[in-house]
């Protein structure tokens, strides 16, 4: 038997009716939606006494019926940033108002809205103070994330990733500026479909309880559970997106392959006149018939030869999640499948993931939770990158502009020999992609099991064990006939990476009186990291095509490596709350690290933070300022180092005719290392206005890291190229601002919400160490990325133009700019500020959201520009082709005006190594995401026996609206580590993606 219950739902702020609100009978699948006037009628079965009201953008409300026939409800806006309870360090849920430090939450829907498969990229523009750099447009390429600048001279400076309380590996390859393969950042294995929310703990203050690795902040991911499941629920998501290159270099299309205007093809290997040359300083593309690599054909432009090489990439992303539960137990099972084809032919990535999240009350006092994730990440071929013949982008820089790429698709002649436009330097790009494969497979398991025992209603104990482990196979093969490896070659490695964590945590919470509440925790953790790798390099194959050690010609070079690291910790916290508006938090932690010398392996670090809700404290009740909080905190975090840095060792070279030969390491070890220490202060405020219609979240922070353990570059003349030392002081100071609100909210359901994120960070190298002028973070083509005392972290240091006292460029005897023999700072890689603006419009089930992402500053050394000018392929090189160039400048230090005309080719080629000519400002504005969603009305959905259905159109990286750097995407780097930042060469173009997503809930 059922009875009808009716009522009206209105907005608590505006008192206007809310249409489209879902009204559900708790514990059943019975429900309805409110009409245009906010009213509803629902048939409630016998035995049910609770109604649930849900509406996007508002907080859920549960109401008992208690025999009433009419239930009216007021819903309160729930901008998720304002949600009252947030997940903090160690997974402890805290009232946000009690926190003395900044924490920013991003809801799972926001993360997954544009169906980005790499969770790091999905955070772009959504959190203030986060900088994300995606290295390239290759499938599964890595993305780098930093919070509040760089603290460390080495390492990746990236935050710790924690999923459901367990730290997750986010390792990346070391940089590959001179060639390599990007295997992605390991956190990209996390399935965005499983994410319930992400808490970004930006600084040491929020993260001190995570210990050492939290100095760069923490990305705390909570996965979806079956906790609020009502019976069985099934959600099916599927999206398909298509990818295409966002930006390609601007090439010249007037001159073809050759040198000094000459080109006569004979064999493509230097047999003719300049026919082995891979530059485009040849004859004008006049369309006249000419002998070429394919025979006689018109010598004409192929303006789209590079664009035509790329294909439309495709990503299918399918996920099924099943939730179910009773009051005592619930579970969520999720199965995901991602299948990607890259924009580069024959590159792909597939990812299978399965996760299970279960909670169970074992007794009234004991509960258990478990979460397991299995991921298989597999690619048959990933594109190579960096300055290497394996990188197909390299030969579009060293290229004959007249080459018709379509003629290269069949890369073998009938007799099996290779066919190409050049036989001197380059492999046919299709041969590279179809025969020289870089596959990998990573099988990964992470998860944890925890038990929680409530001794009383105020004291509990949690014990938890968990881990993250993966086995990975990587194999790179070079087919026989590859220009660099005519006898073929392969490299294969097997890696095993694991981290296990065991924790216990006592937690107590009590109200001492009406006015004072206290809480305390005491816990311990033991963490163990293991890494093992076995690899082998085979330099030549006996029989082509068999990539097995048994098929090696000559001696293969095998090697193996293992390392282990243990960190044990004890920690505690205390919280005191006064009248629910003043809070004081204290934390303390001591770590013992195996990697430090025994005498220095224990280190202690405390933190203190406080929060005052002054609107409550001073009884401010205003329609303008509805809520106000001030917060302040001080924290320290200690840090250890990598294993085996305290004692130097010998390394083995390949045996000489069976004779072992070992060399001493070129890195000087240090038996007296001290732990690193980061100290951070932070103050901020949360303000809400106009009955929470608008809000401001502002943070100022200042932190310094001292005694960093780094391998500093040293003069080889010391006998060592680097030295492990405690060094220096790095400072970061900055602000983070988030402003948001709902400027328009109308009675008929139109809603406009806007969120602005802005962050400015100053990252300064305060001091290094006595006698050390610079610390080199990375170096390519003579330009180094350095930390120099008094300068911004990460300056580009290299060769500029020689200039006279008035700043004029000085030219040499033939009219080319001279190089300044004294190196100097030419730029810095850090942005002046970053920001994002998201606008969301919703109306009756429609939802339109657009995210602009922007960066001001941050210099990049474009090696594409340097070699693109050298090789005469870029548009700029049309200058002076016929008449030469007179460089604006002077002939000598006395300032005699230059009048020497230099041929275009000599001029552009002389810019090689003059780094100043190739450094650009990396500012950009990007239209990062656009989504248009439609929630199909409940009335229709119910007929199809569904609980919900929605469809959305999504686009990512749609437009590069502003950029100061020619030819390339300003968001690029050689890899995800610090040494790779600020350098660009031949990165696969970043991708623009667009597609459709369908979600069905049963």
């Amino acid at each position: 038997q059922t009875r009808a219950v009716s009522g009206q739902v209105i907005d608590a702020n505006t008192n206007l009716p809310l249409p489209g609100v879902t009204v559900l009978v708790k514990g059943t699948t019975i429900g309805t939606a409110t009409g245009a006037d906010g009213t509803y009628v629902v048939n409630v079965p016998e035995g049910s006494n609770t109604l649930i009201y849900r509406f996007i953008g508002y907080k859920n409300v549960e109401r008992p019926i208690n025999g009433a026939n009419a239930v009216d409800v007021r819903l309160v806006v729930d901008a998720e940033q304002l949600s009252e309870v947030v997940v903090t360090a160690l997974g402890i849920e805290r009232e946000k108002k009690a926190l003395g430090y900044a924490i920013q939450e991003v809801a799972g829907e926001r993360v997954n809205q544009a169906r980005e498969t790499n969770v790091v990229n999905a955070l772009s523009g959504k959190v203030a103070g986060v900088q994300i750099v995606n290295s390239s447009g290759a499938v599964g390429s890595s993305a780098r994330i930093t919070l509040r600048g760089n603290n460390s001279l080495t390492g990746d400076n990236q935050p710790l990733f924690v999923v459901d309380g367990i730290p997750i590996n986010n390792s990346t390859n070391t940089n590959a500026g001179y060639g390599g393969v990007d295997y992605g950042n390991a956190a990209a294995d996390i399935n965005p479909n499983d994410i319930a929310s992400i808490s970004v703990l930006k600084g040491a203050n929020a993260a001190a309880l995570y210990g050492s690795r939290a100095a760069n902040g923490v990305i705390l991911i909570t996965t979806k559970s079956g906790r609020n499941a009502q019976g069985l629920g099934v959600t099916l998501d599927h999206s398909t997106t298509w990818e295409s290159p966002l930006i390609l270099p601007d090439y010249q299309d007037e001159y073809g392959q050759g040198y000094n205007g000459l080109f006569e093809y004979v064999d493509g290997a230097g047999g003719g006149v300049m026919d082995g040359v891979d530059e485009s300083w040849g004859p004008r593309l006049d369309g006249a018939p000419r002998e070429q690599f394919f025979g006689v054909g018109p010598w004409s432009a192929n303006p789209n030869n590079v664009r035509d090489f790329f294909q439309t990439g495709r990503t299918n992303n399918t996920n099924v999640a099943i939730t179910g539960g009773t009051e005592k137990a619930n579970a969520r099972l999720s199965l995901g499948y991602i299948d990607q084809e890259g924009i580069v032919p024959n590159t792909d990535l597939t990812r299978y993931s399965a996760s299970l999240n279960a909670n169970m009350a074992l007794s009234s006092k004991l509960s258990a939770a478990a979460s397991f994730n299995y991921i298989q990440n597999k690619s048959d071929n990933r594109p190579s990158n960096g300055y290497s013949g394996d990188n197909i982008m390299q030969q579009f820089v060293w290229f004959g502009r007249q080459v018709d790429i379509n003629r290269l698709r069949d890369y073998r002649n009938e007799d099996g020999t290779l066919f190409n436009w050049n036989y001197n330097y380059h492999n046919n790009p299709y041969f590279v992609l179809y025969d020289n494969l870089n596959g990998n497979q990573r099988d990964r398991l992470f998860g944890n099991v925890s038990l929680k025992y409530n001794f009383t209603d105020w004291l509990n104990l949690m014990v938890r064990g968990g881990g993250d482990m993966f086995a990975e196979n990587r194999k790179r093969v070079w087919a026989t006939g590859t220009i660099d490896y005519p006898q073929g070659r392969f490299y294969e490695s097997e890696r095993f990476v694991s981290e296990t964590n065991f924790d216990f945590l006592f937690a107590a919470e009590r109200d001492l009186s009406e006015e004072i509440s206290i809480g305390a925790t005491f816990g311990g953790n033991t963490r163990r990291n293991n890494f093992r790798m076995n690899d082998v390099l085979v330099r030549a194959l006996a029989v082509p095509g068999i990539y097995n050690v048994s098929n090696a010609q000559g001696n293969p070079s095998p090697s193996n490596f293992r390392s282990e690291r243990v960190v044990n910790s004890l920690y505690g916290t205390a919280t005191i709350g006064f009248r629910d508006y003043l809070f004081l938090d204290l934390t303390a932690r001591n770590d013992w690290a195996s990697t430090l010398p025994i005498a220095n392996n224990s280190f202690f670090y405390p933190s203190v933070s406080t929060s005052l809700v002054f609107t409550d404290a001073f009884g401010i009740e205003s329609d303008v300022l509805s809520y106000g909080k001030l917060r302040a905190s001080w924290a320290q975090v200690g840090n250890d180092t990598d294993p085996y840095r305290t004692v130097g060792t010998f390394f083995s070279n390949d045996p000489w005719d069976g004779i072992p030969n070992l060399s001493y390491t070129s890195t000087l070890a240090n038996a007296n290392l001290q732990p690193e220490q980061t100290t951070s202060i932070e103050v901020g405020t949360d303000l809400r206005f106009f009955l929470d219609r608008a809000y401001v979240d502002f943070t100022y922070y200042k932190k310094k890291t001292v005694d960093q353990i780094v391998p500093i570059s040293t003069s080889g003349a010391s006998g060592f190229n680097s030295q492990i030392v405690n060094v220096g002081e790095i400072g970061n100071e900055g602000i983070e601002l988030q402003v948001g609100g709902t400027p328009i909210q109308t009675a008929d359901g139109f809603n406009w919400e806007v969120i602005v994120n802005f962050a400015k960070n100053r990252n300064e190298v305060v001091e290094l160490t006595e006698g050390l002028d610079a610390y080199q973070l990375g170096t390519y083509w003579g330009l180094s990325l350095e930390a120099r005392p008094g300068e911004t972290f990460g300056v580009l240091y290299g060769t500029g133009y020689l200039r006279d006292d008035d700043g004029n460029i000085v030219v040499d005897a033939v009219g080319r700019p001279r190089k300044d023999p004294v190196r100097r700072v030419l730029g810095d890689i850090l942005p002046d500020w970053t920001g994002g603006i998201r606008n969301t419009f919703s109306y009756k089930g429609f939802n339109l959201s657009a995210l602009l992402d922007m960066r001001k500053g941050g210099d990049i050394f474009s090696v594409t520009h340097m070699f693109g000018l050298y090789a005469g392929v870029l548009e700029e090189t049309l200058q002076g082709r016929e008449d030469g160039i007179v460089v604006p400048g002077v002939k000598d230090m006395e300032g005699t005006v230059n009048d020497i005309n230099v041929p275009s080719q000599r001029y552009f080629q002389s810019l090689y190594g003059t780094h100043e000519a190739h450094i650009f400002d990396g500012s950009f504005v990007k239209l990062r995401e656009v989504t248009l969603g439609y929630e199909i009305p409940q009335a229709l959905v119910s007929k199809a026996k569904l609980r919900g259905a929605s469809i959305s159109f999504i686009g990512r990286n749609l437009l590069l609206l502003h950029s100061n750097i020619p030819h390339i995407d300003p968001e690029t780097a050689f890899g995800a580590d610090i040494a790779s930042q600020g350098f660009e060469f031949g990165a696969l173009p970043s991708t623009r993606s667009y597609g459709v997503n369908l979600r069905l809930t049963f």
């Binding site: 330099r539 490596f561 025994i598 294993p643 085996y644 005719d657 001493y664 003349a717 180094s784």
Partner: protein
């Protein structure tokens, strides 16, 4: 809370200490591979000495050096074989193995000699002291380095002569102590002759002392004594020039070399060079019915590849071809020069000159005695007929040094011969002439700035300005 930590942090992958016997082969193969390999030697020193010229990526030949490459050579020589050799010497001292210590000191002197002849002033007395805390060694005057190297070689010869201990792990002489003595003393002759103009008294005294007492100071007596590293012919230890040729075809023989060999009708032309496949009519020189075309150094324009002569197969196409660290023929040319200067070396200049040429012919597989004798009798070769004896000796030495770019580049700068070695056509520094030195590592501007800045006084445009100590204009 730190149970077992000491054990956990012991590196299981690599030993903290090893015996000298396994370090010596590493020092030898890494030093020889670098000093005589395809980059430092073939692409830089041999090219700047104008034995070789580049035909693709002509940059280095135009003095557009790659700063990264130079930095790697600088750092790697110090932190690699030099540091390893220092460890060998320390271990030999500790164990009282005088033979091994003498070997280590000789080998270290060899590396320093090559480095100072490229760069001039370099860190020496304070070098390799990183483990003692000196990370920024000062650059020492080349003269002081030379004086100390002479002393080191005296000590080495004495230690080797003492007869205690054995040399193990020796890839060059298989542990033959007498051979190491010959090498130490021959190397000393090389240092001394470099000083012939700048410090003639010391050079004369030293050379006369060595040649005057062969029992005390044995030197190379035939090609059997040559200091060399014979490559295995299997990867990764194939001859570096061969290895480079597997994938690259950037180097030809220089026009300077071909013209000089051709003018003398020198049979080594056929060993150093291959005939041009499709020579342009009238280009190059004819020998044995074939045409050899050298490539002008630092050309503005790349040649059509078939029109120029590549490096001969012995040097470029032989996996097992040894790298000659120092040869008997060089010793003979040293003695010829000394004798020509009027110093008493127990042999006449003409004898030593002829013996040097014959030894070089032999090393280059030219076995026809009659042809060699005919060559020696040619007016362009016969010692007695040469108006400028120094020029004749220097030219022949330069021809014999093919393969050893550093020494050839040194001799070109020191003697000014062959005077056909002139500024590359499209020099990056037009009008500055032939490079006077190697550029210092740009890395030093970051890691050892004060000292490299002090040492750079007088150097302009990286390669010019201040001359090396022995380069008396």
């Amino acid at each position: 809370c730190d149970k077992d930590f000491e054990e956990i942090n012991v590196n299981p992958n690599a030993p903290a200490d090893v015996p000298a016997v396994v370090i010596l082969p590493a020092a030898q193969q890494s030093a020889v591979s670098r000093l005589f390999g395809a980059s430092l030697n073939l692409t830089y020193a041999e090219t700047w000495a104008q034995h070789i010229a580049k035909i693709q990526y002509i940059d280095e030949d135009r003095y557009e050096f790659r700063p990264d490459a130079i930095a790697i050579h600088w750092d790697s020589l110090y932190s690699g074989p030099l540091y390893d050799t220092q460890l060998i010497i320390q271990k030999a001292e500790e164990s009282g193995n005088q033979a091994m210590e003498g070997t280590g000191r000789t080998f270290r002197a060899l590396i320093y000699q090559n480095m100072t002849d490229l760069w001039g002033d370099i860190p020496y007395f304070e070098a390799l002291q990183g483990a003692e805390g000196n990370m920024t060694p000062v650059y020492d005057e080349q003269e002081a380095i030379y004086m100390d190297l002479l002393q080191e070689l005296e000590t080495a010869n004495t230690l080797l002569a003492a007869g205690t201990g054995t040399i193990e792990g020796d890839l060059m002489y298989g542990g033959d102590i007498m051979q190491w003595r010959r090498f130490a003393n021959s190397l000393r002759l090389r240092l001394l002759i470099h000083m012939a103009d700048v410090a003639p008294a010391i050079a004369k005294e030293g050379i006369e002392m060595i040649t005057g007492d062969p029992d005390m100071y044995p030197i190379f007596e035939s090609n059997d004594d040559n200091a060399e590293l014979a490559f295995l012919g299997a990867q990764p230890y194939r001859n570096p020039w061969f290895e480079n040729a597997v994938t690259r075809d950037d180097h030809a023989v220089s026009q300077t070399l071909v013209q000089l060999l051709g003018a003398k009708n020198d049979p080594r032309l056929t060993v150093y060079a291959k005939p041009a496949a499709e020579p342009v009519a009238g280009a190059g020189v004819k020998f044995g019915g074939k045409t050899y075309v050298g490539q002008p150094n630092g050309a503005l324009v790349q040649p059509s590849l078939p029109t120029v002569s590549r490096i001969g197969d012995l040097y470029r196409g032989t996996e097992t071809q040894p790298m000659y660290v120092m040869t008997y023929s060089e010793v003979m040319f040293i003695l010829a020069e000394a004798a020509a200067r009027g110093w008493d070396v127990g042999i006449t200049a003409a004898e030593a000159y002829n013996e040097g040429i014959i030894a070089s012919m032999s090393l280059n597989r030219i076995t026809d005695d009659a042809a060699i004798l005919a060559y020696l009798a040619q007016p362009s070769v016969a010692y007695e007929l040469q108006a400028n004896k120094m020029e004749a000796i220097s030219e022949q030495k330069w021809l014999a040094l093919f393969g050893n770019g550093i020494e050839a580049f040194t001799e070109v700068r020191r003697t000014g011969y062959p005077d056909e070695v002139v500024e590359p056509e499209a020099s990056a520094y037009p009008g500055r002439g032939v490079a006077l030195r190697f550029p210092y590592s740009i890395q030093e501007q970051s890691t050892n700035r004060a000292n490299v800045t002090a040492a750079s006084t007088g150097i302009t445009d990286f390669l010019f300005g201040e001359r090396l100590w022995w380069d008396v204009d």
